[in-house]
Subunit: 201 residues, 2 copies
């Protein structure tokens, strides 16, 4: 039995409603109703709706997705295991209920909120490109993969992951099965690795 405070409950309910209905669609009324209190009571915990949203939005980019520099190096020296590891993490986030809500909220508000766009570019894009390109660079140095621009290679690799994730999120939203998409992650690694690796006969 959880004794979650009202404030925590508001945040939890808001997260779900924002990610389903967007900022405009999730009214304070609906939030209060789902929490089980009156609208006015909400304002004892948050100054206004915007403040609730900002609190929720904070979580979007606080995902535990990370690879330390040493870890990148160690894995990249072995080639494919680096990609496997990266995709495994990405896939776990994609299918994690909590993270999925965050991703959905991000996609809904991406074009309505400049701050989210900037964070999307820095946290979702730049950060991942950095990790991946570091890995590819090491692979190139060790003749595991063909030499080319590591940044481009990272971009190519990441874009497909994002697309799969978007599709999974869309399917889940309509309660459609995602079996085939789940294996798409592995197929991606397979395809990509085969197309960049150097044959060592």
């Amino acid at each position: 039995m959880k004794t979650s405070s009202t404030k925590e409950k508001i945040l939890k309910v808001s997260t779900i409603l924002f990610s389903e209905l967007g900022y405009k669609g999730a009214s304070v009324r609906k939030i209060a109703s789902k929490v089980g209190i009156r609208e006015s009571a909400i304002y004892n915990h948050y100054k206004n709706k915007e403040e609730i949203f900002l609190e929720v939005a904070k979580e979007i980019f606080s995902s535990p997705f990370s690879l330390k520099t040493e870890e990148i190096k160690a894995l990249a020296l072995r080639g494919k295991p680096f990609l496997n590891k990266f995709v495994l993490q990405y896939k776990m986030l994609t299918f994690d209920k909590n993270n999925e809500n965050m991703f959905r909220l991000l996609m809904i508000e991406l074009l309505q909120n400049k701050s989210l766009r900037e964070q999307f570019m820095s946290q979702f894009h730049d950060k991942n490109i950095k990790i991946l390109s570091e890995g590819f660079f090491i692979m190139m140095q060790n003749s595991l993969v063909y030499s080319s621009d590591p940044i481009i290679m990272a971009y190519e690799f990441l874009s497909t992951l994002f697309y799969i994730r978007l599709q999974v999120t869309l399917m889940h939203f309509d309660a459609l099965p995602t079996n085939s998409l789940a294996t798409q992650f592995e197929k991606h690694v397979e395809f990509f690795w085969e197309s960049i690796r150097i044959d060592t006969i």
Copy 2:
């Protein structure tokens, strides 16, 4: 000097406002104001807001993007020109002002509107996967590229295009430069072609 009827003007203004503010954000009030008439006058042309939106949404998937079966075959037999042609069309849509508005609207409402999601999957995804996989299949038959699953290859190719398009749209929304992203299309073709083609020494 255009003598566009009020009805046309409403549609034009609505397209812009919907693609900037989303369905909820673009109020009938704002639309009427920008058209230069009163709200009530709107209802002489459209039954309600929903009807305006549906009229706008119709255009989203009416893009002139197409490749005839014979055209696909002819280009695919030459390999890379097929990819060049496809990406050129995709790039033109990406940078076309009108199409960009439509894409923005699609992304804003994608998670709010089931019908749009379905159309996105069939018109944006399935349709393009079909064209691309047909092309790749022909290339494989003619030993221009490595043999593998043409559907997977199409998926890999398309996902990057989508990602670039999304980024371009985000940047334009904030009036940021897209020079580097514009060349990303060509880099993608280059990278992808180099990784799938069979060396004919």
